[in-house]
């Protein structure tokens, strides 16, 4: 049971203003962007908003002393319930720790607090012609701390990789309240193999092992221009072959995006002027770099894909690129229009399958959807086989909600069957915990033991990732 005598102690640490206990506060800290918390919100008992490592540390120490669950949270834009308090207790909102502390541009690194929003970081880096590459669809709202905790990525992962590759070091508050720095206490090195790489244990641990309070991140030179090739295919398999051919031409695009026929239809519905060819698939190749190289790459890619389709558009002009990119930009919101009063469900939204099985995956997801009489659009990062499925339902129809849940379950099982994974970049949280044992087998036991060692009282984000409640 929650021991409310912790509240005045928390108030001593951060002040009354930043300890929230009102009913409306509990309501509004009960969700993230997941379908699961739309259906079943989970309220905390208290919310704290710390502004410094010291405050985080002291609040965590108190949680450990009182044995109260503590749920670290960034902007709560996650789709897995990862930051949601399923056991009541404390939610720690870290979004106000959002200072960019240092842009060490000559050493290609930045030091920031965890609450900095990805887009704000990149805005600040622009002045130095640098950028932080991992760019999830939620770049304008997600915090970098949340990205690190979920090891998120995004469309440019094919060329630039995932968040993990950019974390040089981090300051972490452990479940006991102790503070450590990984990657060398004073290091500014861009590479290090000194000691166990603890940062990489923490990255993607979804706040179950520690709370990120400071990050040292690698950044890269900002590409000067980008070019796009948009092409449509009447046949899914042809789209797959086209991608293979582009690879064989020696190019690593910065993104390769796919939209299936329903996603294309949705985009056309929202913006009729796009006038996209409604075949089985639409591919968008993006390349970046200096202008001359970009122009050449755009030409090479469009030549390659032309062997499989006649519907090809390309450009290296910024304005035209923006127009071509619009289809991909609007699709996430546009799928809602597939049905009047449609609500886009985030569930089964992040599977990843081997590239060779993508056409099969796309077809079978649509078969699953048909079997439940649900309409859905599919889009995603074809470059690494990561598919975002978007079922659209009516939220006041109980049958549709139940069917959507079953459909989501089927999609996750399909991913495992096709030698893929249930989640490529969004995380496990509560919504994919039940697949962890199937995916990992005996390795799950070691994960539980690690958790027990680092967090003996099970204070931090308990009940997530199939770890003990």
């Amino acid at each position: 049971m929650f021991d409310s005598s912790i509240i005045p102690r928390l108030e001593e640490v951060v002040g009354k203003d930043r300890v929230l206990v009102r009913k409306t506060d509990m309501m509004t800290y009960s969700y993230d962007a997941s379908f699961a918390t739309q259906l079943e919100p989970k309220e905390p008992d208290v919310v704290v908003i710390p502004l410094s490592t010291e405050e985080v540390s002291q609040c965590t120490r108190l949680a450990n002393e009182y044995k109260v669950p503590l749920y670290p949270r960034g902007a709560a834009t996650g789709q897995t319930g990862g930051a949601v308090p399923i056991q009541g207790g404390i939610v720690m909102d870290l979004s106000k720790m959002n200072n960019i502390l240092e842009i060490d541009h000559r050493n290609l690194q930045v030091i920031i607090e965890p609450g900095v929003v990805q887009a704000d970081l990149n805005e600040a880096l622009k002045a130095y012609q640098l950028f932080f590459p991992p760019d999830p669809g939620s770049a304008k709202m997600c915090t970098v701390g949340g990205m690190v905790s979920n090891n998120s990525s995004g469309l440019r992962a094919i060329k630039y990789g995932v968040t993990r590759q950019y974390v040089l070091g981090m300051e972490i508050v452990l479940p006991t309240g102790d503070v450590i720095v990984t990657g060398g206490q004073k290091s500014r090195a861009l590479k290090s193999v000194s000691g166990y790489d603890l940062a990489h244990l923490m990255i993607g641990s979804e706040g179950t092992l520690g709370i990120v309070t400071r990050l040292r991140l690698k950044v890269l030179p900002l590409p000067k221009t980008r070019g796009l090739v948009l092409c449509a295919f009447d046949n899914l398999e042809d789209a797959g072959e086209a991608v293979q051919l582009v690879y064989r031409s020696g190019i690593i695009p910065s993104a390769i995006e796919i939209m299936d026929k329903y996603a294309i239809r949705a985009a056309n519905k929202m913006l009729p002027e796009l006038n996209l060819h409604e075949g089985e698939a639409l591919l968008l190749f993006e390349v970046d770099g200096i202008k001359e190289v970009v122009s050449l790459q755009v030409k090479t890619i469009s030549d390659a894909v032309s062997q499989y389709t006649n519907f090809v558009q390309f450009s290296d002009d910024p304005v035209e690129c923006q127009n071509l990119w619009q289809a991909r930009q609007v699709v996430g919101a546009a799928v809602g229009n597939l049905k009047p009063g449609g609500f886009r469900v985030y569930g089964g939204e992040d599977i990843c399958v081997p590239f060779s099985r993508l056409p099969e995956a796309l077809r079978r997801i649509q078969e699953i959807a048909d079997s439940y009489n649900i309409i859905c659009g599919i889009y995603g990062h074809v470059g690494d086989g990561n598919l975002h499925t978007a079922p659209v339902i009516n939220m006041n129809n109980k049958t549709e909600i139940e069917n959507a849940k079953k459909m989501i379950d089927d999609i996750h099982h399909l991913a495992i069957e096709l030698e893929g994974t249930t989640t490529a970049e969004h995380g496990v949280g509560i919504v994919r915990a039940k697949y962890m044992d199937i995916e990992h087998g005996p390795a799950m036991e070691l994960m539980r033991r690690i958790k027990k060692t680092v967090d003996p009282n099970n204070i931090l984000n308990p009940g997530k990732m199939a770890l003990p409640i």
Binding site: T28, Y29, T77
Partner: protein
């Protein structure tokens, strides 16, 4: 008109969080309940009857500035301000039913919203009283005697920055017709190109009392930019304040009156110089979803509504204007940029003025905290937002801060007053700035300076 009703859009929120970054109140406190997602959930729960009407929920919904920044960025078009207002209407209705509305509050609301604002003559009378207060020495006396200390800080602030009200004789009705200056003086191709469009000036209610000079300047600026300008005297308040405060019926009455008045005129456009009013006019159709006859009339009306800077950029020709080397920044009006979707016209116009240096204002996407009468109702939050705004204004090292809405203008003045910057920085309506720039020698215009400090 919008595809969905507010109530339908309320069901569409997937809580992606896109709105977090643009919300001025969330920016201050970081509390989810001070952000759009939280407000949608709270209002929705209230409207569905899942939670009861009480002081806490009322307080929470009242903290929304209704700036519409969230709706502007929402990928699925959730109409947050409308949803919050629907929640507030339910609270008001239920309080009335329970007889819980405080009597003085009810009377004051009634007086302002029903008895004064809809009646321009009565509002002008209030203007007379204000003028008398300022000119009779009463203002001097109250300030000297420190009587203002008895009032809350927000009222004192506003009193201090109140513009000099023009005398009753200076506030005679606006000219009914002003012919375009380009057509008559030049009669050249440019004049023909602008087509001597005929436009109607929407004068606003408070605007016309407090910022009469800006209205006059607007009419002349339009004429000099190539438009024939009519200003019907029968027009009434746009109803925005009523709508934001749950007075739906009065809003509809006012809208009908304005539609009637303006449809009798043969004009191409209806021009507003206040983002708040323009946005309301632009959304009249939303009021008549269930009234087919008025809906059509409202749609025609809405399609003609333009902001003054938008219209001049699109169809007019700004007369030659030149500054005196000053640094100028611009704080957008939220309703102008988020509801009317006029995002860069004011900057474009300012860039046509010679001899000024335009500096963009950091975080100009965030509301300044004026938000209608929000600054009087929620002074603490409004001042936090304002102080942050002023920190950004300081960063620009500007000599002039331009706005496009009377509420924003007063708020900027209040901000400068709080910061002790009234001597260094001027806050001006864009029309007044342009008027001053096109004729620097003559008219030193429209309450450019704050009427001294207390």
């Amino acid at each position: 008109m919008k595809l969905l009703t507010a109530e339908q859009s309320m069901e569409m929120c997937v809580r992606c969080g896109r709105c977090r970054d643009v919300c001025p109140t969330l920016d201050i406190t970081g509390r989810e309940a001070d952000g759009p997602r939280g407000r949608v959930l709270m209002a929705r729960s209230l409207l569905r009857g899942e939670i009861a009407v009480d002081e806490e929920i009322e307080h929470q919904l009242n903290r929304c500035m209704l700036c519409s920044a969230c709706e502007d960025v929402c990928p699925v078009g959730v109409q947050v301000p409308e949803i919050v207002m629907a929640g507030k209407r339910k609270i008001q209705a239920e309080k009335q039913e329970r007889g819980q509305e405080r009597l003085w509050e009810k009377r004051l609301r009634n007086l302002v919203f029903e008895r004064i604002l809809p009646h321009q003559k009565r509002l002008q009378f209030v203007g007379h009283l204000l003028w008398l207060y300022q000119k009779s020495g009463l203002q001097w006396l109250t300030r000297k005697l420190g009587i203002l200390k008895l009032f809350p800080e927000s009222m004192r602030q506003m009193e201090a920055v109140l513009p000099d009200i023009p005398s009753p004789s200076e506030r005679r009705p606006l000219p009914e017709f002003v012919q375009n200056k380009q057509g008559t003086t030049h009669g050249n191709e440019t004049g023909a190109k602008t087509g001597r469009k005929r436009v109607a000036m929407f004068r606003g209610c408070i605007m016309d009392v407090m910022f009469r000079k800006t209205n006059l300047n607007s009419i002349h600026l339009l004429a000099e930019s190539g438009f024939d300008v009519v200003t019907p005297d029968e027009q009434v308040c746009c109803g925005a304040l009523h709508n934001h405060n749950g007075k739906r019926e009065t809003t509809i009455e006012l809208a009908k009156k304005n539609i009637e008045v303006f449809e009798q005129l043969d004009v191409d456009y209806i021009v507003s110089n206040a983002g708040g009013c323009g946005a309301m006019l632009k959304e009249y159709a939303e009021l008549f979803r269930d009234d087919p006859e008025w809906l059509e009339r409202a749609k025609t009306f809405c399609s003609k509504v333009r902001d003054i800077s938008e219209l001049i950029v699109q169809e007019g020709q700004l007369p030659k204007a030149s500054g005196r080397g000053e640094r100028v920044t611009y704080q957008p009006s939220c309703h102008l940029q988020y509801v009317m979707k006029v995002k860069d016209a004011p900057q474009k116009i300012l860039q046509q003025v010679d001899q000024i240096e335009f500096v963009p204002l950091p975080e100009s996407k965030l509301c300044c905290g004026s938000a209608g009468i929000y600054n009087l109702l929620q002074p603490e939050m409004a001042n936090d937002v304002l102080d942050k705004k002023m920190t950004n204004v300081r960063k620009t090292q500007s000599d002039v801060i331009i706005t496009a809405n009377p509420g924003c203008l007063l708020q900027m003045k209040a901000g400068l007053y709080r910061e002790g910057l009234t001597e260094q920085v001027q806050a001006m309506h864009i029309v007044d700035f342009l008027t001053e720039s096109k004729s620097p020698a003559t008219d030193h215009s429209a309450d450019a300076k704050t009427s001294s400090s207390a």
